[in-house]
Every structure is written in C-alpha cells, then in structure tokens.
C-alpha cells in the first residue's frame, strides 16, 4: 500500500488545522486512529466534509430511525438519493425535499436556483423523470430591509432554473415572520416518475467496473459549502482562490436530465449519484460504501473549468450539474455516445475495487487512501444531550382593542401570510409537461399520470408558530395540515418527505425541539399510514445565537384513482349548501389572527389523530362518490378567510352565506386555526349522506351555509362584505407590498 504524499505548499496537519476545518479534537484523534497515521492535508479536507453534519447526519441519524419508513407501497425508503412509492399501473413516484437555506441567504438568486437544481438531480439520478417541483419559503418580516430583496431573488432563482429545465413548479408555501429575519429558509421539493423495475440505484457493484464523470467541468465553486471552515490559512490564500458562490446552469441540467434518462434505458448504468454536497468525494465514497466495495479515482482525468486546481479543491468542489456513474464493464463507449450527443462530458476517471478503500491519485501519486467505511459508516454518531428550555416568563403582551370581525377579515386577507401568492407563482411555469390538472394557489396541486386515469396530489406545509409553542404538537399539526390538504383534493395521503430545519444541535434545547419534532412526525405519519420515505435535516439555522423557530417542513404525496374526480377549493354552483366539517374547536394560539391582534393564550390543546384520519378518509370517499362540489382546507386566517377564498373562483366569483349558532361569532370560531377543518359545498341531495358519514366518524359538522350568485360574503350578523372588494385586497396585498404595479 502506497502511503499518500503531502503536496508542496500544503500546511502541516495538526489539531489547529483540524479545528479550522470544523473537526473537534476527539474527531481528529479518531481520524488518526482509523488511518493509523496523521491524514494529509487533502485527506483532512475530505474528512471534514464527510464528517460534517450536512453529510454525516451525526446528530440526527439515531433519531431519524424512529420515523415509519415501511409500507406496502414503499419501494425505496431513506438511504438512497430519494424515496419511492408505487402509485399503480406500473409507475413509481420518486420524491424528496431538501434545504438550501444558507446559500439562498448569501446570494438569493443562485442559492435558490442551485437548490432547485440539486433536488432535481436527486430525482433523475434514480432514473425518474422529474415531473413537478414545489417550494417552501420562509422570509423575515416585510418591514425588514432585506426581505424584499431576498424574496425577489429567491423567486426569480426558482423560476429561472425550474422554468428553464422544463419541470413545472406546481405548488408551494411562503411565510413572512421576523423570526427569519437573519436566516431565511428555502426548501425545495421534486417528484419524478419512473417505470417499476427501472429504478436506478446509488449502490456500486462489480469489481473492475469503470467510474464515469459526466456533466459540467469542475471549478472552485462552493468549496467547503458542506462544512464550517473558518481558517486563517484559508483566508490568506489569494483572492482568486477564495471559495466562490455556486452558479447554476439550468441549460446543462436539462441536457443532463435527457442524457441520464436516455442512458438509464440502456441498462449500462450500475450505479449513479449526483455530485452534490462534498461533490466528487461524497458521491464516490458513498456509492462504494453502499456496495461494500472500494473505489479508485484519477484526478488528472477530471474535466476542469480552469487550470491549477489542487486535489483538495477538486475533491471538495461543489460545482453544479455533475454526476458520477458506475458503468457496466465494456459499455463505456455506449454511454459516452449518449452524453456526447447531448454535448456533455463523459470521462472515465476510475474504477471499482474490492479492497474497500477510497484511493485517489493525482499527478501519478496517491494523494488520499482511506478506508471507505471511515468516510461513511464509521463517521461519528452523536447522542447529543436534549432538554426542554426553561419555560419563558410569558410577559403579558398588551392586546390592542379587538377589531370587528369585518375589520379582522380585511386585515387578514391583506396579510402577506394569507394574501394571494399569485405574484410569486405566476413567475413559475406550472403547466409544462402537460400534467397539471390543478396548479398553484389551492390546497394541493393535482397532476395526472399520462396514459392512466391516476392522479397525484402534492402539498408542502409547515407551522413554525405552533412548533415554537410546542415542537411536538406543532409537528403533528403540520403533518395533519398537509394530509388534509391532499385529502381535500380527493387524494389519499400515501407518502411523506420532510425537511427538518432547526438551530444548533449542540444546544440541548434545540436537540430537544428536534427530537420532539421527529416524534410528532412519527406519530402523525403512523396515524395516516403515510410512510416517510426521504428527507433532509438542516441544523445550524441561527445567527448570533438566535435560532429560527423549529420548522419541520412536510410534503405529502397523495393518490387519486381517477384524476377526473379531483376536487377544487372553489364554490361553483349557486344554491349548493355549505358544510363545515372539523376535528375540533379551533384556537387562537399560533394563529395569524393572534400574530396581528395579540395573543389569546399560548397553549396548544391535544390533537385527536384518529379523528384527523377519519376526516381524510371521509373526504376521499366523498370525492370518489362524487358527492361534493368543492372542498377547501381551513388554514392561515381561519374559517372566515377560507370561506372568502372558496368564493374567489377564477371562472367567476360567487358569494356565500353562513348562519351562525349563538356563541359562534367569536374571533376564536371565525379566525382560529390548529384543528383540521374543511369548508365543503355540495348539492342538497348529497348533504344528508355527507353529514351522516362525517358525524358517524366522530367529526363535527356545522350546516347552515349556502353558495349564492350575488358576490357577497355574509357570516351571521358580523360579516357582510363585497367579495370583489375582498378579492382586490387579497390579490393586491403582495404586489402592493413589493411595490410592483
């Protein structure tokens, strides 16, 4: 075994340099023990990225195991680039959500764009054609000076990339809260479709199989994006060698999608992985690790964008739009032909070995030689201490004089968190690929699967305000919200992916929030029988010691047997009766109303998961039986806002009247949130069946409403408003705040 050599000009490797690479003293000692020697500078860089939280999940791994990941539809659970469920008729849906928070805060356009690019690659690396994207965005207060800049940049970046690769952005959510002033969140979701049996893997096999590098050339982009490096030595290097922002190239990504999917059809791909975080290092070591094999790479063959990159830089580069492929022996030429057809590099840079070592050569010398397991399975695993924070002294906030119900409704519709997000989603191509049955702006998007009657419903949700009060109940509520959103569209919740955004896990209260969040997702996912097949953890979302509120973002994929049975949120027939079906009384805690007009108690009551599931099942049954004309999930802003939104039918607005029982006209009833509630409209002849069905299931059904042709919204004696005026408020709020025409 040849011992790796230090290269000229490299700094000496010691505890200080290791610390500058974000490795603790214990971790550095462990590296030396695993190697039986001190690592070279190059190897130190490699360990620092592979043992970073981002790549190793060292703080979260042991807790993530409690998530339910199995189910009869699950074809691929966590552990690959994305999860996959069987959606029928020979099709698999492959999906995942991932964060790109910090890069988007630094450079919003490129940060968001490369976030979209990265999640797309996680999907087509599985052999699936990406068919839909969604995004969950959290910005600071609109009054914060950077918010508008960040919002415009992130939205333009998502559109700039997604539109150019031809993957529709079909849904999303956007929230503004001062808690994100210094740490925005950009979580990107992608779903792809692949035929059963054509799923690709990232598990290397076949000793002697060649390793191909495909896609863009390597530059100095984002070196150490995956770890925390604050090194004097590093800053001392010349300006031109400083790490640079990753720039996305959606055009190359589009070519890469087509080339990879064409290559997948040949059967010549043994394993494939995106060169994402920690680039060439993670993709090569992880593929070898999954297969229990070794790998050899020759860096002299790696296509470079500029001369003079060191092995350290090549191995750690996070240049975008690159993939690593383990090819079947003897079939390299065939694959090269496909990539050349699409004007892309395809270069053989190494081969699979049987010695379970990760060995890298450059300039004819070995520059790294590490047991694969040391980079993957033997990376540190922590059981960090977790403890609830001391109960904060709840200073009684002075509550402004309570507004009238009408005033409150108008204020809520004008709040950026409630108002129409059209300004955002009209910048996204939501229809390319001809599958979008229901696009952005509703409870869930609905796609059809071509050549079948089947449909998919997609939604992404989060509820950081509830999580801030109770990280467990907040997570449960988030899963319920997402599941009811797809059920409202008529789809059965079938699979979950999550992006867990939290602060610094080295602080016990953050670790406690995280664990409680995972427990909440577990319990709710079990209740809906919707396994968690993929996900991503984003820690260290904090600035100057202030963490974001716990923000588990949940995306749910639901299935419709027949997409023609999809239900939209809009009232569509004057004379239809309106029913409100709910699992419990709403509450003002964590509501948008409370954030505008002051708190009303800050406790969250328990959530009855059996009833939540009953509501989802009842909605799916009603949709399949064709009993309902519309169904809208009550969320931000509460019941009154949901009723107004149901009236805003783009095909022509309608009105609604709702009589109220005594005691029902309170702010809590009209504007409360936190319990799954839907607003249904249905013809008279269906209403008895519906009411009985839901009441038998233990749900509360409130009747007394109807859809009207005159465009007024009347709720009891407290609200009587012109809907066209309300719609104007709702539609104008966001562009007005942004200062767009």
């Amino acid at each position: 075994m040849s011992r790796p050599v230090a290269l000229p000009g490299e700094p000496p490797v010691d505890h200080d340099l290791a610390a500058a690479h974000g490795l603790t003293r214990d971790e550095f000692d462990r590296i030396r023990a695993l190697l039986g020697r001190t690592p070279t500078y190059t190897e130190l860089g490699v360990f620092s990225v592979m043992w970073s939280e981002h790549c190793s999940y060292k703080s979260s791994r042991r807790h993530l195991r409690m998530m339910p990941a199995r189910g009869e539809r699950v074809v691929q659970g966590p552990g690959e680039n994305a999860g996959a469920i069987d959606v029928g008729d020979g099709w698999l849906a492959v999906f995942k959500i991932e964060s790109h928070n910090h890069p988007s805060f630094v450079e919003p356009y490129q940060g968001a764009a490369t976030g979209v690019g990265g999640i797309l690659r996680d999907i087509f690396t599985m052999g699936a054609r990406p068919v839909a994207s969604m995004d969950s965005l959290k910005f600071g207060s609109f009054d914060h000076p950077r918010t508008r800049y960040l919002l415009s940049g992130v939205v333009a970046g998502i559109g700039g990339y997604g539109n150019c690769v031809g993957v529709p952005t079909v849904a999303g959510e956007t929230m503004f809260d001062p808690a994100y002033n210094a740490n925005i969140l950009v979580n990107a979701f992608c779903l792809g479709l692949v035929r059963r049996g054509e799923l690709l893997s990232a598990r290397a096999s076949g000793v002697g199989n060649p390793v191909l590098y495909v896609g863009s050339a390597t530059g100095r982009d984002g070196i150490h994006g995956a770890s925390l490096l604050a090194s004097a030595e590093f800053h001392a290097t010349s300006e031109s060698k400083r790490p640079t922002v990753q720039v996305g190239d959606p055009f190359t990504e589009k070519l890469l999608i087509e080339a990879c999917l064409e290559a997948a059809k040949t059967g010549a791909i043994v394993a494939i992985q995106d060169m994402g975080a920690a680039g060439l290092t993670s993709s090569s070591s992880e593929m070898a690790g999954r297969g229990g094999l070794g790998i050899e790479l020759d860096l002299d063959r790696v296509p470079l964008r500029e001369p003079g990159l060191t092995p350290y830089e090549i191995l750690l580069s996070e240049s975008q739009e690159r993939m690593l492929i383990v090819a079947a022996r003897g079939r390299v030429g065939e694959l090269e032909g496909i990539f050349t057809k699409w004007d892309l590099h395809a270069v053989e840079i190494g081969r699979i070995t049987d010695d379970r070592r990760w060995r890298v050569r450059a300039g004819g010398k070995v520059v790294a030689d590490i047991p694969v397991a040391a980079l993957t399975d033997d990376a540190p695993l922590y059981d960090r201490p977790a403890a609830p924070p001391p109960k904060p002294a709840t200073a009684p906030r002075t509550t402004a004089a309570a507004p009238s119900a009408s005033e409150a409704l108008r204020a809520l519709l004008a709040s950026p968190n409630v108002a129409s997000k059209r300004w955002i989603f009209r910048q996204y191509d939501s229809i390319v690929q001809s599958n979008t049955v229901v696009g952005p702006g509703g409870d869930a998007a609905v796609l059809r699967i071509k050549g079948t009657h089947r449909g998919l419903a997609l939604t992404v949700d989060s509820n950081p305000r509830a999580c801030a009060i109770d990280p467990y109940l907040g997570a449960v509520a988030t899963v319920c919200e997402a599941a009811i959103n797809v059920a409202a569209a008529g789809a059965r919740p079938a699979g979950i992916t999550n992006c867990l955004n939290y602060g610094n896990p080295e602080r016990p209260e953050i670790m406690w929030q995280f664990i409680r969040g995972v427990e909440g997702i577990r319990d709710a996912a079990l209740a809906f029988d919707a396994p968690v097949v993929s996900g991503n953890v984003s820690f260290y979302n904090e600035t100057e010691g202030r963490a974001i509120p716990p923000t588990p973002t949940i995306a749910v994929v639901g299935l419709l047997d027949d997409f023609h049975q999809r239900v939209t949120q809009f009232f569509s027939h004057p004379g239809d009766l309106v029913l409100i079906v709910r699992t419990g009384r709403p509450q003002l805690a964590a509501s948008e109303y409370a954030s505008l007009f002051g708190p009303d108690g800050d406790a969250l009551g328990p959530i009855d998961l059996a009833r939540e599931r009953a509501l989802a099942e009842g909605l799916v049954d009603a949709a399949q039986a064709g009993l309902i004309s519309s169904c809208h999930d009550v969320s931000d802003g509460g019941l009154a806002v949901a009723l107004a939104e149901a009236c805003f039918n783009p095909e022509g607005p309608l009105g609604a009247e709702l009589a109220l029982a005594p005691g029902f006209d309170t702010a809590r009833e009209l504007f409360g949130e936190g319990r799954s509630t839907v607003v249904l409209s249905a013809p008279l002849e269906s209403v008895v069946r519906l009411t009985e069905r839901f009441r038998t299931a233990g749900l509360e059904v409130i009747a007394g409403g109807r859809v009207t042709r005159p465009t007024r919204l009347r709720i009891g004696s407290v609200i009587d408003e012109d809907l066209l005026e309300l719609r104007e408020i709702y539609e104008r709020a966001l562009p007005g705040r942004i200062g767009d025409r």
């Binding site: 630094v106 450079e107 490129q110 863009s216 530059g219 100095r220 982009d221 031109s240 640079t244 922002v245 990753q246 720039v247 996305g248 190239d249 959606p250 055009f251 190359t252 964008r305 500029e306 240049s319 975008q320 004007d343």
Partner: protein, 81 residues
C-alpha cells in the same frame, strides 16, 4: 460626465452564457477560441464636478447595485464631457 461600466462574471465563476456562446461559435466553424464571457455594458451619464468624483460615484453604484460582488467583477472608464 459619461461613465462606461463593464460587468463580467468573476474570474473562476461558472459562466453558462459564455460557455453556450463559445460552443455555438465553435459549431459555426470559428476556430481558435480560448474563451468567451458574457457580461453587461452600462452607460451612466453623471453630473460630476471632476473625473475623480464620477469615478467615486460609479464605484459606489457598482458595489451597491450594478454588479453583484459575489459573482461578478466590474471595471469602468470615465469619459470627460
């Protein structure tokens, strides 16, 4: 005072536009291309008492708005009159 500002992708930063144009030129048969970079050319007409003052103003405009220092370089020329 007229100031011509040239904004180009920063050295070493991926320049997808430049690369696409380079490929296209090569496919049209133009040989001997070592590289292509695509940037923006901005002409400012400034009220300024001196070239130094114009230079100063232009530099601040570039830093704050015209260029994104994370991914772009800029240079400018001041033309008297």
């Amino acid at each position: 005072m007229r100031v011509k500002v040239f904004v180009t992708p920063r050295q070493g930063i991926l320049d997808p536009q430049g690369r696409a144009v380079e490929q296209a030129l090569k496919s049209l048969g133009f040989d001997g291309i070592n590289g292509v970079h695509v940037g923006r050319y901005i002409v400012l007409d400034l009220k300024a008492a001196s070239a130094d003052e114009a230079r100063d103003a232009a530099r601040r405009m570039c830093d704050e708005l015209l260029a994104n220092p994370l991914i772009e370089d800029y240079r400018f020329e001041v033309e008297p009159g």
